[in-house]
Amino acid sequence: MADEREISQRYRELQREEPPHHLDQAILAAARRAAETRPAPLVVPTGRRRWYFPLAAAAVIVLAVAVTMHVEREQPDVEMAEAPVAASPPPAPQAREEQAAASAQVPTEPAPAKPETKRKLFAPDPKPAPSQDLRAQRDAESLADLQKAQKPAAPPPQDAVSGARESARADAGAKPFSEMQQAPAPVPQAKPAAPMREEVRARASRAPDAAPAAAGALGAFAYASPEQWLQGIDDLKRQNRHDEAEKQLTEFRKQYPNYRIPEAILEKFEKR
């Protein structure tokens, strides 16, 4: 330990060299320069580039707000509501041919009407689409032709599709709801001597909306608007079929969640 102290003392007696002055100046100048400059950003935006980021951010925000507002304002579309039915795959070509051939021949047994579902019966259809109107009009014209052609013969049986539509159109709002709901109208046996009628039927079966039309044409036309549907519910109430009326009202609210039922009608429901 004493030896170490002696060596340390001797060492300190050695010449105390110092760094040269120019070296001090160079190092201190470098330190000052470094202290003055801040760390540079990763990307230095210059000129027009400096606006890119703010502009892009503003555009994204405006777009997001616009899309949100649009989605909020958008009402449920009629076409969208019917999409599952319309989007159902069309019959296979072979099946279609068979169907057409069967209808061209003498139909021994008409195809039974498809069982109706309430959903189809009360499909939200505040305004029938124009294409649907045209189709219905075409069917009606065909039916009129058919009726003309069959006048001498026995009273023509109504077609499963167009007949139902016609009667529904004629009775819309007039028939009591219960009658309309019990839609499975008996489809009379088709007569063989009616080529035009067969054509109409084939066309109807090929039409994309043939299934819902055949199944729930009556309801779809009878309650083409929420007001008519409410009228139907009112009819049920009037007939003391409260359970069914409640079900229909629940279904109505599901289908038209944004529809405000007039208080007068609600009061009428409650009274009954």
Binding site: I7, L14, P20
Partner: protein, 177 residues
Amino acid sequence: MEAPDEELMLAYGRGDAGAFETLYKRHRGPVYRFVLRALKNRSTAEELFQEVWIRVIEARSRYAPQARFTTWLYTIAHNLLVDHWRKKGLSLVQLDDEPTVAAPDNPARQAEARQSLARLLQALEALPAAQREAFLLHEEAGLSVAEIAAATGTNEEAAKSRLRYAMAKLKAAVDDG
């Protein structure tokens, strides 16, 4: 009371150039002598000395006082010395185990050697690099054995052993006179 080195370095990291100046004035002599006596070549020592401080300047923003500033500073110096020795084809083991060849005697040095201090200096130059470094860190930087071990990246036993050998050799050189 003087501000601690660590605070000065942190202040410099925040842009206070005056803090660096204080720090530099405090350590410039010891660091310079440490490098000069470790290398025995003035121009190379000056280059390396400057490099040490440039490294300090560059590290200003990421400096975190995990140990004494002095230990950190001499760790930088040690690493630069090791790089220098590597470039010359020397390894740390060689520097530790094999005594370096003593500087060739010349008339002037022999004349100086007559004096005790000159003999001490000559003995210091003749020490293996690792032992000399341990001695210089102890004398110039005032580092403890543990700090020497930390600065040179070795364990305490090795640092203690190097320092003890260096002291013994220097004592022998002084006593020979």
